[in-house]
Symmetry: C2
Subunit: 201 residues, 2 copies
């Protein structure tokens, strides 16, 4: 299963903390695909998070998130800035997607933003996340900002668009797209028993 996430997305935080354990229970191999929502939102005329553009939806989202975190006993503190620029973190995640430390790094960045209210747009914060995993933060960030790495994230975001992805988190199982943290279980179920639903029906 492909897990498509955006570091600035609140519901991606929930999914990022849940996905590895759940996929493991289902015996489903996981691909971690960072991408940027900004270019996709801009394509439909939004220059900010829809949760800021539509404040009534935004108010609801924060409360919904708070309730879900309480239910799941996940820590959560509303960040003092939202959304935070995620491009550097996404470049790291995209460039090093195949490294064994990647899932731990992704979770660390999400926690920094949505638990510790740290400005994850800043290299120093990401360096700390990497250093906490005994990784050479500065060298990895430099590599993540190489032209090749930047192009890699642009291509991955373009691939998201081509797959019909419009929000985060999203899950792809073969050709089936599932959107939202609350569809994670349905996506995993689909890996076992794709229903013979006819799209034309």
């Amino acid at each position: 299963m492909q897990f498509w996430f955006e570091f600035s997305s609140t519901y991606s935080y929930l999914a990022a903390l849940r996905v590895e354990a759940l996929a493991g229970q289902h015996g489903v191999p996981l691909e971690w695909n960072a991408f940027l929502l900004g270019p996709l939102f801009q394509a439909q005329g939004w220059n900010d998070s829809p949760f800021n553009l539509f404040p009534v939806q935004g108010r609801y989202m924060w409360r919904d998130l708070e309730r879900i975190c309480a239910d799941l006993a996940l820590p959560f503190r509303r960040p003092s800035q939202f959304p935070r620029r995620s491009v550097l973190a996404a470049r790291v995640a995209c460039r090093f997607a195949d490294e064994s430390w990647l899932p731990a790094f992704v979770r660390a960045v999400f926690r920094a933003n949505f638990v510790d209210d740290q400005d994850v747009s800043q290299p120093v914060v990401l360096e700390r996340c990497l250093a906490a995993l005994d990784l050479p933060g500065k060298a990895l960030l430099d590599e993540a900002q190489s032209p090749a790495s930047k192009a890699q994230l642009r291509a991955q975001t373009e691939q998201a668009r081509a797959l019909g992805i419009f929000g985060a988190p999203s899950f792809m199982v073969d050709d089936e797209l599932f959107w939202g943290n609350d569809r994670l279980e349905a996506a995993l179920a689909w890996t076992h028993a794709p229903s013979p639903v006819n799209p034309a029906g």
Copy 2:
């Protein structure tokens, strides 16, 4: 629990078919509150369903709905028109909200639209739904179109807005708003054990 629904909303169809049995299992009294999404959408600059305005989301929604209906063994056929004008059905549901036949009428209208592809904006279709329940369709529709009844639906839609409702279906449990068919179970759980979540936390 208040169940807020819009007859033209696809996910309201799912909730309308599920809500009474589930609320019964929880011993939760149910209030059926029809309202119109149109005026709420217009207030944020949308003159059509967001599923039409944003076709990528729309394509996903139809597939999502199809999968959920297959999972739940609910019948479903994509209507040839979407959305269908729901104002007359909503006036009936609002005017006769306290009648014992109301839930059956609501389900009949949703089925007419989302299973039998009938044009539920037409009085004759609603008359048939009422007649099938042994009710005097014509007389009830006339009453639903009285000035008092029209004002009642306007007031109910205004109340939805005042509650922070922005989509359908929505569920209210005391002051807690839950949005979406996939939050029905969470709303019912909330009726038993409101968590001491501090909104300022």
